[in-house]
C-alpha cells in the first residue's frame, strides 16, 4: 500500500470514507451510489443516447430555437424527454466528478492506472463539450452566451484571420451551417467518447459497466420524475443585440461564465488549459505518494509455478498471461507484465503453491508473517481480526481494545486461505475478516475472490477441513468502526457458543497446498 503523503490526500480519503459510510447506512453497500459512480455514468450515457435520438427527430437546424420551443410545448412527447436529457447530463457530470474524486482519493490514479486517469480526463472534457454543444443547439439566451464565450476564447488563438466572435455580433443572421456543424459535433462527440471509454477500461479485466439494476432503475425513475415535475425552462431566443441580465442557465455547464466574463478571452482559455493540464498531470504529481518508490510489481517463481492459470484468471488488471514453456513441471508458466501490474497482490491469494505475488506479500511470505504473529501474540482462543489496511486496519487499536487480535493485511483479497487455516490452528478462536465492501475494493475484486475462496471452492480454496463456523467475512470501510466493532462482538458471541474446540495443528500448512512433487523436492 502506498502511503498517503499530503494532508490534502488524507483529507480526501477521510471525506470519501465518511460519505461512503453514510451512504452505506442509508442504502446498504450493494446500492450505495457512491460506489457505483463510474457505472452510473455509463448508464446515463445510454439514457442520453436514447433520449437524444428521440429529440433529434424534432430538431431543425434551420429553426433551432423554434423547433426546441415547439418540442418543449408538447407535454407528452417532448417536454419530459428534454428534461430527462438535461438532468441525465447533469447527473452524469456529477457522477463523473465523484468517480474521479474516488480514484484520486484512493490513489488509483497513477502507475499502470495512468491511462485510465488520463482517458477519464479526456472523457470529462468531452462531456463538457457535449453539454456545451447541446445548449448551443437550443439557441436560447444561455446557448447564445455559451457560443459567444466559446468564440471569445477561440479568438485568443492566432489561427484565424478573422475573429469567430464576429459571427455573433448580429451583423448577419447566423447561417444554418453553424447549427448543422454544432449538431454534427453534438452527435460526433459521444461517438468519440465511446472510443476513449474503451481506452479507459482497456486495462481492466471484467470491467463493471452498469450499476446494480435497482439502482439503475431508481436513478432513471428519479430523473424522469424530476423532468415531469420540474420541466426545464426554455429561455428567450438568443439575440446578439440584447444583453439580458440573467439567463436560465445550467450551472453544471455554465458555472464558469461569470468568471470568464471578467477575463479576456485568452485569459479564460489559459485558465482552462492550466486546470486541464493540472488534472491530466495528477498521475505524475501524485506518483509515489511519499513511499519513495512505486510499490513493487508481482513476480512469478517459475520453480514453483504449476501453470494452473488461476492467477491469470483472478488478476483484476489482466497483468498476468500464461506462456508456454519447455519444462517438466508444467506446459505453461505465468508471466507478469510490469506495465500493467498495480501491485494489488490479488494473485498472492490465488496461487495454490504460493509462487506469485509482490515481493514480501506472496502466500509463503504471508505464512511466515502469520507464524510470527501467532508466536508473538500467543493466541488463546481469541478472535483474530484480519483487517484490510485501507479499511478496518485504520482502527486496529479499537479492535484490539475490543478483545480481538488485529492482523492488518494490505488487502483482504491478497489473503491466502492457508493463512486463515494457520491462524485457527495457531490458537485463534475464530477469524473475522474485515474486508472492504465489494464495490469499494481498492484492488477491484479482492472481496469477491476472498469469498469465493472461502465458501465456493475457488482456487486457492480454503480446505474443507477448516471449520467455517469459526470464520466470518464482514465488509466495512475505514469510517465504519462502529459496524466493525458490532460485528466483532456478535462474532465473539457466536464463537463462545461453539462447543467443538479448535482442531489441533497436526499438518504443515505451508506445504500442504503444493503438488506432491514440489513437496518432495523441498
Amino acid at each position: 500500500m502506498s502511503a498517503l503523503s499530503s494532508p490534502f490526500e488524507r483529507l480526501c480519503v477521510r471525506v470519501l470514507t465518511g460519505a461512503d459510510a453514510l451512504a452505506n447506512r442509508l442504502y446498504g453497500q450493494r446500492y450505495n451510489p457512491l460506489y457505483q459512480s463510474g457505472t452510473i455514468v455509463v448508464a446515463l450515457y445510454l439514457v442520453l443516447v436514447i433520449t437524444g435520438l428521440w429529440l433529434l427527430l424534432f430538431y431543425r437546424v434551420g429553426a433551432p430555437w423554434q423547433s426546441v420551443a415547439h418540442l418543449t410545448a408538447s407535454p407528452w412527447t417532448g417536454r419530459w424527454v428534454r428534461g430527462l436529457h438535461r438532468y441525465a447530463t447533469d447527473l452524469a457530470l456529477v457522477a463523473t466528478v465523484v468517480h474521479a474524486f474516488r480514484m484520486f482519493a484512493q490513489g488509483r490514479s497513477w502507475g499502470a492506472r495512468t491511462l485510465a486517469w488520463v482517458s477519464g480526463c479526456v472523457l470529462l472534457l468531452l462531456v463538457l463539450l457535449c453539454g456545451w454543444t447541446g445548449y448551443v443547439m437550443v439557441w436560447d439566451t444561455f446557448g447564445g452566451h455559451l457560443a459567444a464565450e466559446g468564440a471569445r476564447m477561440l479568438d485568443a488563438l492566432p489561427i484565424l484571420s478573422e475573429p469567430t466572435s464576429r459571427a455573433f455580433t448580429g451583423e448577419t443572421p447566423l447561417p444554418t451551417a453553424f447549427f448543422f456543424l454544432n449538431l454534427f459535433a453534438h452527435i460526433g462527440l459521444p461517438l468519440g467518447m465511446g472510443v476513449v471509454f474503451w481506452l479507459h477500461v482497456k486495462r481492466l479485466a471484467r470491467p463493471a459497466m452498469l450499476p446494480s439494476r435497482p439502482l439503475l432503475w431508481a436513478a432513471i425513475a428519479a430523473l424522469t420524475a424530476a423532468a415531469i415535475l420540474w420541466p426545464v425552462p426554455m429561455g428567450p431566443q438568443a439575440d446578439p443585440l440584447r444583453l439580458p441580465e440573467q439567463v436560465p442557465a445550467d450551472l453544471f455547464f455554465g458555472f464558469w461564465i461569470p468568471i470568464s466574463r471578467r477575463l479576456q478571452g485568452g485569459q479564460s482559455l489559459l485558465l482552462a488549459v492550466v486546470i486541464g493540464t493540472l488534472l491530466v498531470s495528477v498521475p505524475w504529481i501524485t506518483a509515489r505518494r511519499g513511499a519513495g518508490e512505486p510499490p513493487p510489481v508481482s513476480h512469478v517463481d517459475e520453480e514453483i509455478c504449476v501453470g494452473c492459470v488461476q492467477c491469470s484468471l483472478d488478476c483484476p488488471y489482466g497483468a498476468i498471461t500464461m506462456l508456454p514453456r519447455d519444462s517438466k513441471r508444467s506446459p505453461l508458466v505465468a508471466r507478469v507484465d510490469p506495465d500493467l501490474c498495480v501491485s494489488c497482490g490479488i494473485c498472492s491469494g490465488s496461487c495454490p503453491p504460493m509462487g506469485v505475488g509482490p515481493p514480501g506479500r506472496t502466500g509463503r511470505d504471508q505464512l511466515v508473517r502469520a507464524r510470527t504473529f501467532i508466536s508473538e501474540k500467543k493466541l488463546a482462543a481469541q478472535i483474530v481480526a484480519v483487517a484490510c489496511g485501507r479499511g478496518a486496519g485504520t482502527y486496529a487499536g479499537a479492535l484490539e481494545k475490543a478483545g480481538a487480535r488485529p492482523y492488518v493485511v494490505s488487502c483482504a483479497g491478497n489473503l491466502h486461505s492457508s493463512v486463515i487455516e494457520l491462524l485457527l490452528r495457531g490458537g485463534a478462536g475464530g477469524v473475522l475478516i474485515l474486508s472492504c465492501p465489494p464495490r469499494d475494493c481498492w484492488n477491484r475484486e479482492g472481496p469477491r475472490w476472498l469469498g469465493e475462496r472461502i465458501y465456493h471452492g475457488r482456487e486457492a480454496e480454503l480446505q474443507e477441513r477448516v471449520d467455517r463456523a469459526r470464520i466470518q467475512v464482514v465488509t466495512v470501510n475505514a469510517a465504519e468502526r462502529a459496524e466493525a466493532l458490532s460485528a466483532l462482538a456478535s462474532f465473539a458471541a457466536e464463537i463462545a457458543a461453539l462447543e467443538v474446540p479448535v482442531a489441533a495443528d497436526d499438518e504443515d500448512v505451508s506445504t500442504e497446498c503444493e503438488p506432491a512433487e514440489v513437496r518432495e523436492e523441498a
Binding site: A23, R25, L26, Y27, G28, W65, A69, T72, A73, R86, Y87, D90, L91, V94, D140, F142, H145, S161, E162, P163, S165, R166, T169, G170, E171, A218, A222, A226, W230, V232, P233, M234, G235, P236, Q237, D239, P240, L241, R242, L243, P244, E245, Q246, V247, P248, A249, D250, L251, F252, G254, I257, P258, R261
Partner: protein, 188 residues
C-alpha cells in the same frame, strides 16, 4: 430496513435531486445591471494604394521579351483610423489594418463600447490613413466590398438597458448603418 431509515434514505435521495434540479435551472447573472453597448462590427477589403510608372525603353530592353510589361506598380494596402466619440468625448481611437502577415487580407472591426443607458450621441469616423500623394498614386481596386477612403456616422440614440446598438458597414449603401434589436421572442 426500518421505516425511519427508509424515510431517511428517500430524503437523502431527494435532497441531492432537488439540488440537481435547482442547479440545472437556476438563473445565472451574466451581465451587470443596466449595461448597454455600442458594438462596432464590420469587415471590408482594404484599398490597395499603388504607385505606377511607365518603364523606360532602356529598362524594357534589359528584360527578357516575355517580361516586358510597360507599367511597373508598387503598392500597399491602406490603413484606416477609427475614431468614436460619445457625446463629444473620444471613447475609442484605433488604427485598423488588413489581416494577415502582409496586412493585405480583409480588415475587420470588432469593438464593444460600454455606454450608460439613455441618450447618447455617437459620432464615428473611419478614415484612410495617407492615400494617393501624387497623380501617379491611386487606389488600384475598388469593388463593392472595399472599404471607402472615408466613412462617417453620427446619430443620437436613446439606448435601453441591456440593448446593443450595432453599427456596421453596409456595402450596398456604401455607408455605416445602425441596427437595433427586434422585439424579443419568448419561450414557453
Amino acid at each position: 430496513m426500518s421505516a425511519g431509515r427508509r424515510a431517511a434514505a428517500v430524503a437523502a435521495a431527494l435532497l441531492p435531486m432537488a439540488a440537481l434540479v435547482w442547479a440545472s435551472t437556476a438563473p445565472l447573472t451574466v451581465q451587470p445591471r443596466a449595461r448597454s453597448l455600442v458594438r462596432l462590427a464590420w469587415s471590408a477589403r482594404p484599398e490597395r494604394i499603388e504607385n505606377c510608372r511607365p518603364r523606360t525603353e532602356a529598362e524594357l530592353a534589359q528584360l527578357p521579351q516575355h517580361m516586358r510589361q510597360p507599367m511597373v506598380c508598387e503598392g500597399q494596402t491602406a490603413e484606416y483610423e477609427l475614431t468614436v466619440r460619445r457625446n463629444g468625448q473620444v471613447v475609442l481611437q484605433q488604427r485598423v489594418h488588413g489581416g494577415g502577415l502582409r496586412r493585405d487580407r480583409r480588415l475587420y472591426v470588432l469593438q464593444e463600447i460600454d455606454v450608460e443607458p439613455g441618450s447618447s450621441a455617437i459620432d464615428l469616423s473611419f478614415d484612410r490613413v495617407g492615400g494617393p500623394s501624387s497623380a501617379t498614386e491611386a487606389p488600384a481596386s475598388r469593388g463593392s466590398d472595399h472599404a471607402p477612403p472615408h466613412l462617417a456616422f453620427a446619430e443620437r440614440f436613446d439606448i435601453a438597458p441591456g440593448e446593443v446598438v450595432l453599427i456596421t458597414y453596409s456595402p450596398q449603401e456604401g455607408a455605416l448603418v445602425a441596427r437595433r434589436p427586434a422585439p424579443a421572442a419568448h419561450g414557453r
